[in-house]
């Protein structure tokens, strides 16, 4: 089963995580699937986190890995962080590295420019 579902809006790729938990059990799969999309040439990517209720340090590490890969020659926008997931990012001071938006529309608009 795929972890991510994709759709396009203009030149922006939108990836939605379809797991409730971004944890150690799926972190490697997340890295593989996101790397596949980057390998296909997508450089403006929006990540939809709305379904993710729980994230551990392995999941966070996978997110940072993805961010670094995209930033090599592109942009990543993220939206839909739930409160507790975002609390982990605040606790680890990692949230500042991400371009975080309030909605899919806002993220797509920002990355389309």
């Amino acid at each position: 089963m795929r972890l991510l579902e994709s759709k396009k809006s203009g030149n922006v790729l939108i990836l939605k995580i379809f797991e409730d938990e971004l944890n150690a059990a799926v972190a490697e799969r997340f890295k593989e699937e996101t790397s596949m999309y980057i390998g296909q040439g997508y450089s403006r990517i929006v990540l939809d986190m709305t379904k993710v209720k729980f994230m551990d340090s392995s999941g966070l590490g996978a997110l940072i890995f993805f961010l670094k890969k995209v930033k090599e020659n592109g942009r990543l926008g993220v939206f839909g962080f739930r409160k507790m997931v975002f609390n982990l990012m605040k606790l680890t001071r990692t949230y500042k590295a991400f371009d975080i938006y309030n909605s899919e529309e806002e993220a797509v608009a920002a990355l389309s420019n």
């Binding site: 938990e21 944890n23 150690a24 729980f54 551990d56 392995s58 996978a62 606790l91 680890t92 590295a97």
Partner: protein
């Protein structure tokens, strides 16, 4: 003596992380912790279990990871134990690498090594002990208020 004690033994398979997470969520809701505290406990136990599976057992299934929840009137003590490779005890107090980066420079930002840092920040007391080839993360969360009991009501 604790009020109540619950022991879970899982196989060292990454898929079982979900099982432990679901169990902790249910337990925390019974003790009526705040959402923040419950999340912190769930996260800390997940990190300790990950540590056993990934580092102690090198992700090899077929080994036991034991999780023991002991509820006292004033605290919850959670032990996560394995019989794999012992962790370097110094790692417990050395979380500088995981926490020393510039937020403005993502190249500096590590992709791993935050597990112990998270546990230390989320729990009140954290120790790591090895006795008779059994390694245990012992994490204590103090309980404010009275009459905490796992009732399920």
């Amino acid at each position: 003596m604790p009020y109540q004690e619950i022991k879970l033994i899982i196989d060292s398979n990454m898929k079982n992380v979900y099982l432990v997470n679901a169990a902790i969520e249910a337990l925390c809701s019974m003790i009526a912790f705040s959402c923040n505290t419950s999340f912190g406990i769930k996260l800390s136990v997940a990190e300790a279990v990950n540590n056993s599976i990934i580092h102690a057992y090198d992700k090899e299934p077929g080994h036991d990871v034991e999780v023991v929840f002991s509820l006292y009137p004033d605290k919850l003590i959670i032990k996560v134990c394995d019989t794999g490779k012992q962790m370097n005890h110094e790692i417990l107090s050395d979380t500088i690498k995981a926490d020393s980066f510039s937020e403005d420079n993502i190249e500096d930002m590590p992709t791993g090594g935050r597990g112990i840092l998270i546990i230390n920040k989320m729990m009140d007391i954290v120790t790591y002990e090895t006795n008779n080839n059994k390694n245990c993360f012992i994490m204590t969360k103090k309980i404010k208020g009275k009459n905490h009991e796992i009732t399920g009501e």
